[in-house]
């Protein structure tokens, strides 16, 4: 089943690239700017993870597949702007799948360096969420992930669950599948019911 992980990886990349393109077009960037924002949204999280780990040259540089996918996704977003806006729902699905998958990729990469599980979960969250953080910094916003939705929380909880699953002797592929499923469903529920962390300090 996890042989299909390349599909989820690419679907996540496409989804992040499209969401970046939309945000950049809203801010009236020029086509080059749109392309760059699409790019950093899609690969930013993994790049920060690789840099923190010293895993260089960073992953996206080692092949041309990911850059090409992002280029095509950004171009399609620009040419079919109207059309893609109707894709809001499938986009959310891809985005949530991408969040789940990227979180696991980050955890896996970090655990190869023999780091503590808590640190690995942090790196999973960075992989899943920090592309969006860089996008928001470049567009001169306070990153949305710090303000509104329980986006990162889905990633953190998923990471913790993953280690619990392994603790309970689940096989790695099954643990992965359940984790991706959890993050996916949790994220959709957050959006659907507008869950938010309580600001108990106000």
């Amino acid at each position: 089943m996890l042989e299909y992980s390349w599909f989820i990886d690419y679907a996540g990349t496409v989804s992040f690239a499209v969401s970046g393109s939309f945000a950049a077009m809203q801010r009236r960037l020029d086509p080059f700017g749109v392309l760059i924002i699409a790019f950093v949204t899609a690969v930013g999280g993994g790049t920060i993870r690789d840099i923190l780990l010293g895993n260089t040259p960073v992953t996206w540089m080692r092949t041309t597949t990911t850059p090409l996918i992002i280029l095509v996704a950004a171009l399609i977003s620009m040419f079919l702007r109207r059309g893609t806006e109707r894709l809001q729902k499938p986009l959310l699905l891809f985005d949530s799948l991408g969040l789940g998958f990227f979180t696991l990729v980050g955890i896996e990469q970090a655990s190869r360096y023999g780091l503590h599980p808590g640190i690995c979960v942090a790196l999973g969250t960075i992989t899943g969420c920090f592309g969006g953080v860089i996008r928001d910094i470049l567009l001169n916003d306070i990153p949305i992930v710090f303000r509104q939705e329980i986006y990162a929380t889905a990633s953190i909880l998923g990471g913790i669950l993953y280690y619990l699953f392994l603790e309970f002797s689940l096989t790695i592929p099954l643990a992965k599948l359940l984790t991706i499923g959890f993050i996916f469903v949790f994220r959709l529920l957050v959006v659907r019911y507008r869950w938010a962390l309580p600001r108990f300090y106000e």
Copy 2:
């Protein structure tokens, strides 16, 4: 005496984490956002230093002590918000001690790579100051260190003094102690008397 340096290190970490938490709560971030801002304020400077040097995986990932300290400091800041606001003065003391200590840690790490003393002082300053810079970027401000206080200047002067002390054959522990003391006192004087660099170009 320098055996107690772990105390200063942790006190600096706590102080930076608390100052990050306060800044984030003022901007009405959600609890996750507060935690992240606390984290980057406390470890950001050292992380940039490590990345520039190629000292990876970066320092804070190698144990769980620092992340745990930051987590606790951020949670206490959120729960006791009112109480901690009365701690303005001790906070400034910790912050100034932290600045001094982190500056020296940066110089030490850099000198292990055989870099020129001027570059080592720059890396000491980055270690001491750039956590606050990242905090301000994420909160969508022009970093305060570039605008108002002679914060970085204390760090730079301290670093230069440190090498002068070594030049005059002081022992390393004594030179460290005097440097931390200088940065600490200089920073307090800056705040007390509102010293500022002259904008001679206006």
Copy 3:
């Protein structure tokens, strides 16, 4: 001829440092802030390239020449502010030469890691353009390179041309010279005739 490349390198560094100083003084930063912005504008692109490649300690740390040049350029900018404003035109020339040269430096460094030519062109563009991106982020702007001028486009087209030149069996020094010349002239034409990428998605 390319023996003179150190001249272009330093001229590019000076130009980027001066442009950074001007931007910082406009925002009323204090002298330390001006110095830092001059610094990141001049070395930021190369630093990101080095970090992505794992080429550490990053280049500017290995000697003191570059930092000294930037320090002097920033100080002169601050002391002779009025005078340097009249230098708008020579500045543009240096800036455009710098863009061409830094693009090639980036491509060369990247190709040493055996990366795909497309990736190398991307790293050349990052080397040439991202110092300005960091400058704008620190000054709390949406990076100008994403909004107005075909700045990065000159760099990308130049990089592609460079590989075409090699494909047509030009010698490396000649290919370099022609590439720098192309980027230089293209950039000047962009500024002269206010070329802009069409926002076809509006």
